[in-house]
Structures are given as C-alpha cells and as structure tokens.
C-alpha cells in the first residue's frame, strides 16, 4: 500500500535520474593528428561541452602516419572505436567509395555550406556529397628572405619560374654563414618528398600515369624534373637535405638558414610569428614557382573531420564536426587564440574578415593558391586520377613511398636519376599489375 502510494514519485525520480544519465552518456572518441590547429581544437573542448552538456569528448591524438594506420585498421574491420576521424583529401574519396564514411548531406542551414571554398569542398566529396567537413586546408607556396634578396639585388617576380629560382639560389647560397640558397623536402615518403616532387613534375609537364594507368616515371618530364631537383639541392641546398622534411626545413628557415623555401602554406603563420621565427620581419611570400605549365605547380591538402559508418553516435558526432568546422569556431579561435591561429583555407568568410586580413598578410597568397589548385586537372596531359600531389588510389601510399626512396637515393648520390626512375618505374608497373590496373 505504502509502495503503491509512492510509486509515481519513485518512478518520476528514476526517470529523471535515468534521463540525466542518458543525457550525459554520449561519449565521443575523436581521433586526430598532432599539429597546432588540432591542439587548439582540443584545448577548446570545454567550450563545446558547455554548449552541449549531453556530449563529452575523448581525444586520441597520434602522429599522422600512426593514426592513418590505426584508423584504417579500425574502419576496414568495422571496429567502431572512433566516432570522429581526422582524415585528408587522399582518404576521403577512397573510403567514401567503400561505404566506410557517413555521407554528410542535409547540413543545417546555419552551417553555411556554400561558404566552404569550392576546391576544398570538391576534394572532400564523393558523388557530389560531402563525406568529411574541412577543418583546415593548405596549398604550397614560396617563402623567401626579403633582406637577402635586397642585398643581392634580386627582385621577386609576380610568378617566379624554377629557372629564376635556380639563378637566385646560386646568388644567395653562402651569402651568410650556414646559409643555403634554397631548402626543399628530401625525406622519403609519399607525404614528404613526393608531395613536393609531384608538384615539380606536374609543372615540368609530367604525370604519374597515362590515361590507361601506365606509369610514366621514366619519361623525359620526370627525368628533367628530378634531375633539376637533385642538382638544385646538391648545389644550393643545406647539408643532409635528404633527411629534411617539413619540420626540419621549418626549423632551418625560421633560424635564417635558408634563402628560399617552397612548402606548405600552413607554415606562414609560424614563420610570421616573431616568437617562433628569427626571420619574421624579413619574410616574403610568392606563388610556388612554375616551369613548362602552371598546372599542378602547387598542391592541395585538407585535414577534415569525418564520421565512420561504424560509429554508434552518429548524431552527436555530426553535432561536433559541424561545430568544429563552423564560422562560429573560426570566430572563437580568432578571439581566444589570436587571428593568425585561425584554421586557414576552408571558408571564404575567413578571407573577408578584416581582423584576419590585418593579422595575416599572407592570406591572399594562401587563398589564391587554394582556389587555383584543381585536383581533377593537375597535369599538362590528361590523367585518370584525382589529386595534385598524390594519386587518389589505395595503392598510392606504397607506390609513393617506394618512388620517394628511389629519389632520395638519387639525391644522396647512391644512384643516378635515370637509375632511380627506372627502378621506380619497374616497381610501380609491378604494383599496378598486381592490383589489376594493367594486364
């Protein structure tokens, strides 16, 4: 009798307790890479959780290559360990085609999908539907020391060519102690030296594959481009260039050890920051140099947030990724971390914001470079693949790394450029045959 009397009250209390528990129950596991922009996103966890008390964020931060392997294992086996994954323009179309990613259609109106830069949006779409939302995007461009250029009587052109760059590197090299005329990536890897070399080959008129997927790695364009790269680095590059990746070159340039550097636009903010860079006051920017054609002379890459189809928290994950890639988030970072720290390259509105333009004088170059890059038409002659500095097929990771190793061997003098490219051609042919692209 007493129980019956208290039953409605007890049930209500239980329901409230249960509802409270259910509300706080959605725990999102977010896998991401370790770089400055992602660290900022992680540090803003509290802001998101305060606005969405029903969701808590759990971060898995790993080095890029480790993360890629970890996420591939999980998504390919349907492990369901992650609710949000940080992936790049290389993975999105491949994973979307296999049905591993949830399509991101019907985005809320206030997300302003039209504000996303077209080239970036296209790179993250499959069958015209977004499968990942861009967190930040980058292209490549040239950085140079204005003080040295002035001292050497060199005038930067509006669109430098590689021939000019070679001539300038000769003049700059050794002007100061430990000063290399030019710094470029040399460390082997599909995302390391091959990101740069691919753009060089593109502008020299080469391509990875012809329209029937036959590799063209020992074509004249490849030999010319790679010979140019090897000679340039050996004559005017820093010592031990074959072990320099993005980080090493960033360190060299920011210490004042490079006259010029062609690399990711994402380095601009760091080089422009006087606390991190000794050359902030004399930093100059220019478009990536060209040779035979401007096509594919600078790359396009975007780190984006995607939801694996195996995630059990689709709605909460969508809530998070639309927040982290929104205009509101850009505003939040600008206000809390400073406008040079804003994730670049994704939204047109960022480049219309006076506060950003004032803080980041490199903004125009970055925007122009990203808008010009066309992953569907990146080579002089037609090709069957999507991607500027990579080929959007699953086999490319191993092909790119293998070719990168051959080119690094040519750079260190362990083989000639012709030998390196013949080896690369044979290895690539074998891989493409095994994968069924060739008979």
């Amino acid at each position: 009798m007493r129980l019956a009397r208290h039953l409605p009250l007890t049930s209500l209390a239980a329901a409230v307790a249960f509802a409270g528990q259910a509300q706080a129950e959605t725990e999102l596991t977010v896998a991401t890479v370790n770089n400055n922009d992602m660290v900022i996103m992680q540090s803003l966890t509290d802001v998101f959780e305060e606005a969405h008390p029903e969701i808590t964020l759990d971060w898995v931060v790993l080095e890029e290559n480790v993360l890629r392997q970890r996420m591939t294992t999980d998504i390919a086996t349907g492990g369901g360990q992650f609710d949000v994954m940080t992936i790049g323009t290389y993975e999105v179309p491949i994973w979307a085609e296999r049905g591993w990613l949830s399509p991101l259609d019907n985005l809320p109106e206030d997300y302003a999908e039209d504000d996303l830069l077209a080239s970036v949006r296209d790179g993250l779409s499959h069958n015209d539907t977004l499968h990942a939302l861009p967190f930040y995007a980058e292209s490549s461009m040239m950085y140079y020391r204005k003080d040295l250029f002035e001292e050497a009587g060199i005038e930067m052109t509006e669109q430098p060519t590689w021939e000019e760059v070679r001539e300038w590197a000769g003049k700059l090299h050794g002007m100061e102690d430990d000063l290399a005329g030019i710094c470029l990536r040399g460390k082997p890897g599909w995302g390391e030296n091959m990101a740069f070399v691919s753009t060089l080959v593109n502008t020299f008129g080469g391509r990875w594959f012809d329209e029937d997927w036959n590799p063209e790695l020992n074509s004249d364009a490849w030999v010319n481009a790679v010979q140019f790269y090897v000679d340039l680095l050996n004559d005017y590059g820093p010592a031990g260039a074959s072990s320099n990746g993005f980080n090493e070159n960033l360190a060299l340039f920011s210490r004042g050890n490079c006259g010029m550097w062609v690399d990711a636009t994402s380095a601009a903010g760091k080089l422009y920051d006087g606390d991190e860079s000794a050359v902030a006051d004399s930093l100059g920017f220019a478009p990536a140099p060209i040779a035979e054609t401007p096509k594919g002379s600078h790359w396009l890459w975007s780190w984006a947030l995607a939801i694996p189809a195996s995630s059990e928290n689709q709605d909460a994950a969508r809530e998070f990724i639309t927040w982290a890639t929104s205009q509101e988030y850009v505003e939040l970072v600008g206000e809390t971390e400073g406008w040079t720290s804003v994730p670049p390259g994704t939204r047109a509105s960022t480049y219309e914001d006076e506060r950003y333009i004032e803080a980041a004088p490199f903004a125009d170059f970055v925007l122009q470079a990203i808008q010009d890059a066309d992953p569907t038409d990146s080579t002089l002659e037609p090709n069957p693949y999507v991607g500027v500095q990579f080929v959007g097929i699953p086999e490319f990771q191993s092909i790119g790394t293998r070719v990168g190793q051959s080119i690094a061997a040519a750079l260190t003098g362990d083989s000639t450029v012709e030998e390196a490219l013949d080896n690369a051609q044979r290895a690539t042919e074998r891989t493409m045959q095994r994968a069924g692209y060739l008979d």
């Binding site: 770089n35 992680q42 790993l62 086996t77 995302g191 990746g245 980080n247 991190e276």
Partner: protein
C-alpha cells in the same frame, strides 16, 4: 739481481694496471654513448620549443613550460595507471602460467620438450603486424578493444615464450636432489614447487618478472593498435606528441621523460636483483 727482478715484476703489474684503466675508460665511454640520448631528451624537455630546434647547446635557461603544456593537454596519470596495470598484470599472469610449464619441462621432460621450447620461441619471430587483423577482429567480437584486460592478455602471450625459457633455464640449474629429498619427506608437487623450488630460485623469478615488466612497459605496437582512449598506456601518450608538421620537440621530450621516469626509477631500485638473477647459475 734483486733490482732486476723487481723491474721485471713491476712491468706486468704496470701493464695490468694500464689495461684496467683502458678498459674502465672504454666501459665509461660506451655507457656515456648509450646514456647520451636519454640525457639529451631530459635536457630538451627543459628547453623552449625555439631553443629545442636551435643549434645544440648545453647552456640554456631551463623552463618548465613544456611540462606544463604536456600536463594541460592530456592526463598523464590516466596513461601511467594503465601502464602500471597492464605491465604488472601481464607479468603476474605470465608467471602464473610459466612457472608450472617451466617446472614440468625442467623436471619432467619428455622427448618433445625441446621441440616445444623451440616452437614457443619461434612464435617471437613472426612480425606482430602479420596477425594484427585477425587479433583485431577477435578483440572486436569479444569486446576487448580498448580494455586493460585485452592488453594484459596480449602482453602475456607476447612475453610468455621468454618468461618460460628464462624460468626453464633457472629451474634446470637447480639440483634435483633437493626436490627429491622433499618428495622423500612426503611433500606434494605443489609443496615441492611452493616451498622448495620458488624460494631457491627467487632471484631468477624476480629478474624474469622485471624483464617482463620492462618489455610490457615499452611495448608500442599493440598498445597503439588495440587501444584508443580508455586503456591507452604511456606509449600512446608519447606518440600523441610526435608530429611531422609542427614543432613539438620540447613537449615530446618532456612527455618521454615523464613516461620513462617510473620504469627508470623502478629499474634503478631493482638493479641488484636483476643483475643477481641474470647471472644466477652462471658460475657453478
């Protein structure tokens, strides 16, 4: 005549002394070369990111900003507790399985014992990545992904061959007569193992356990692949500070120092037992 003899006697003594000095210098040099990367890592942890990429120097103004940043970004304690749980848990489990196995192989061998031992060791020759997908699928199906239990099972399996082999070697060095005497006095097998074998081979068991703890603590492949957030140990913690894009050297060094500190202190405290165990039975 006397002086001649004394000169002759002094010469080999002097050469023995100089050999000793030379060996000492060589020993210290090798130790320094091995220790230098650790020292450099510790020093880099106390630098700013800008100083960490500047020309290498021992002179700098130390700062704790990297340690602070590392601590703010991720909960060190959670990762450390996972490391402690899986390293000690797997070692305990491995010893529980390995002691009876090594006992039977050492004292009750069959003609297949040697083959079994070699087969066990051969499993260590398979690259772990070769079995990653099957193990991942099994773990997914039984719900062991991102759990401490899962890692303990994997580490136990990973270390079991070495643990069995080491214990087998230590047990083999035990005079059988002692166990026989116990049996004559009416001891059961359990009593024989528990009251005779284990106390007598304790240094060996301790050093085997310590080695297993260290191997589990340092293991990175399985911990990175089978955990995500809840059961991730310190190896995953270090990996989160490595980056091909962005400067994180000082923070990476600070994180690595914090990750190796517990096992370094533990190794330091137990080095006597470890050396005693590893040389146990070496001189008969």
């Amino acid at each position: 005549m006397t002086s001649l003899r004394s000169t002759n006697a002094a010469s080999p003594r002097r050469s023995a002394t100089s050999k000793k000095v030379l060996l000492t210098v060589f020993g210290w040099s090798v130790a320094l070369v091995i220790f230098f990367p650790i020292l450099w890592m510790v020093l880099t942890g106390f630098k700013t990111e800008t100083a960490a990429i500047a020309d290498p120097s021992f002179i700098f103004s130390p700062t704790l900003e990297s340690y602070q940043a590392v601590q703010e970004r991720s909960g060190y304690v959670r990762f450390a507790l996972n490391s402690v749980a899986v390293a000690f848990g797997s070692t305990l489990l491995a010893l529980l399985i390995a002691i009876p196995s090594a006992y039977s192989m050492a004292f009750l061998p069959t003609k297949r014992t040697k083959g079994t031992l070699l087969w066990m060791l051969s499993t260590k020759m398979l690259p772990p990545v070769g079995v990653l997908v099957p193990i991942y699928l099994i773990f997914r199906d039984v719900g062991l992904l991102d759990t401490r239990t899962g890692l303990i099972i994997i580490y136990t399996l990973m270390n079991l061959p070495i643990v069995v082999w080491m214990l087998y070697t230590f047990f083999k060095d035990m005079p059988k007569d002692i166990l026989e005497a116990g049996r004559m006095d009416g001891a059961t097998t359990f009593q024989e193992v528990f009251f005779l074998l284990l106390p007598l081979t304790l240094p060996g068991i301790a050093s085997t356990g310590l080695l297993s703890v260290i191997l589990s603590w340092n293991e990175a492949f399985w911990s990175l692949n089978l955990t995500s957030s809840k059961a991730a140990p310190l190896t995953a913690y270090i990996a989160s500070f490595s980056s091909p894009e962005g400067l994180f050297w000082a923070k990476l060094s600070a994180a690595s120092t914090m990750a190796i500190a517990p096992i370094l202190i533990f190794g330091w405290m137990t080095q006597k037992q470890m050396v005693r165990g590893l040389t146990f039975g070496a001189v008969k």
